[in-house]
Amino acid sequence: MTDEAAIELTSVAMSYGGRALFRDVSVSLAPGSFHFLTGPSGAGKTTLIKLCYSELTPTEGRVAIFGEDTGAMARDDVAKMRRRVGVVHQDCRFIDHLNVSENVLLPVTVSGATAADIEANMSDLLGWVGLTNMADQTPPELSGGERQRAALARAVILSPDLILADEPTGNVDWEMSLNILNLLIELNKLGKTILCATHDMSLIRQAKTRVSARVLRLHNGSVELAGAEL
């Protein structure tokens, strides 16, 4: 792992159709840290997450992942950067005609890894997220919680140093939310940097009993650190 900040936003501004969503946002996430990103609906949590893996480009400012300016990256470098960043999308983003294991393996297959690498990566992963018996199901056949866990398995299959989770518990019950939170905490204990967008304060309170986490609050177009460690 590098000593560079896992995520560094410097004077980032983002506008949609002339309406400013953020202004002058500067945030730095240390490697191995666990941050929640919270704020009201429409505050820009998803937009900020998307800026971190270059699905969106900021109107102004600089976004750096492990010290590399994403705005200066060529398209192929963006693709390589995304293999180092595991993302759990709010809507999971699966390929519906592939089964669970094929979807989970996508980051491996697109990276050109060999069959042996694939087997090694897959051996315990589905068991870890509790989907061993779902390997041959297609995404439309899964429940919301199962989809989120499959998305988490896909996000970590290349053992990335940074995991971005956008409302990973948005469509699941409390028990499943805790299950997913536990998986994120396990990853953080392995040294992974976690940035998890959520509006669920009880989930954050639950997390504080287990891990040293900070909360970034999006409010009125700026990001503020919500107090000390939770």
């Binding site: 699905e55 480009t57 693709a79 390589k80 995304r82 983003r93 699966f94 005609h97 697109v110 896909r154």
Partner: protein, 296 residues
């Protein structure tokens, strides 16, 4: 080069992520087959026209005809005078007087079997082989006017040039047709590829988000469309060759060359499926590049 080998060898992982799309697959294969079929016909036409123009050019450029029409009492003398003049004229090679039967054979197809051709009063025809640059036509015509006023020198230019021009024009038209076929094939396959890329927009988005490079995504589509076009082109070419082979022969009637291929010309149609594959390769790459520009 890497893309070429992937095209030959395949990339099962890249292909598996793109679901087969029945309509675009059928459209690509069928349009490539139809266009290859047409291309083989047009190619046959182009080659035949070129061959015909060349034949006419070669066959008629080195011959001329002297036609002698005169009253019975002077015809023999005028024929002898013409033969003497021709024998003395530089640029004139061998000469030969056509027999009455040869003349009748020439006329028979135009007048039909029921006309008593032997009752017609026909001029005497002398076939002249041209040597080198040919004779001084003006000087020759002046001598004929003085010594054999019933003789007319015809170098065939009056009808040879328009016929050769017509054959060359037909060849140019056929070549234009080939270009149009190539263009339509390219556009059709590009449209099919664009439709497939649009239908698979979600797949492309997901692949980019999990770290796929543009080349990986492009390969998944390019190989599929190139192979479909190659297969369709090969099928269309085979049918086209069979159809060309079945065109009835006309050369025996002396009115033109057979439409088709001669000797090594049969290799030209091989280019049709290769061209279809090449066009599909280029069109799909362009369509993929355009689609990928819209994806972050």
């Amino acid at each position: 080069m890497k893309l070429f080998w992937v095209l030959v060898r395949g990339d099962s992982s890249a292909e598996k992520v793109v679901p087969p799309t029945g309509l675009t697959a059928l459209l690509t294969t069928a349009s490539a087959a139809a266009m290859a079929f047409l291309a083989v016909f047009v190619l046959a036409l182009a080659l035949t026209a070129g061959r015909q123009a060349s034949d006419w050019e070669d066959a008629l450029a080195d011959t001329a005809t002297v036609r002698i029409s005169a009253p019975d009492e002077t015809i023999v003398a005028q024929v002898e005078a013409v033969e003497a003049i021709l024998a003395q004229t530089p640029g004139v090679g061998a000469t030969r007087q056509l027999s009455a039967q040869e003349q009748l054979d020439i006329l028979a197809p135009w007048f039909g079997p029921d006309v008593p051709l032997d009752a017609l009063r026909l001029p005497i025809l002398i076939e002249v082989k041209i040597d080198g640059g040919g004779p001084d036509v003006i000087g020759l015509e002046q001598r004929f006017a003085a010594e054999a006023p019933g003789a007319v020198y015809d170098d065939h230019g009056r009808w040879r040039v328009p016929m050769v021009r017509a054959a060359q024009g037909l060849r140019r038209l056929a070549m234009t047709g080939l270009l149009l076929i190539a263009g339509v094939t390219g556009v059709t396959i590009a449209l099919a590829a664009s439709a497939s890329l649009a239908a698979n927009g979600q797949v492309i988005d997901v692949l980019r988000l999990v770290g796929a490079e543009d080349a990986y995504i492009t390969r998944a589509f390019v190989r599929r469309f190139t192979l479909r076009a190659l297969i369709g082109g090969a099928v269309g070419t085979v049918f086209g060759l069979v159809a060309v082979a079945l065109v009835p022969n006309v050369s025996a009637s002396n009115i033109g060359a057979d439409v088709g291929f001669n000797g090594a010309e049969w290799l030209w149609p091989i280019l049709a499926p290769l061209a279809a594959g090449g066009l599909a390769f280029a069109a799909t790459r362009l369509a993929a590049a355009r689609r990928l520009k819209e994806v972050s």
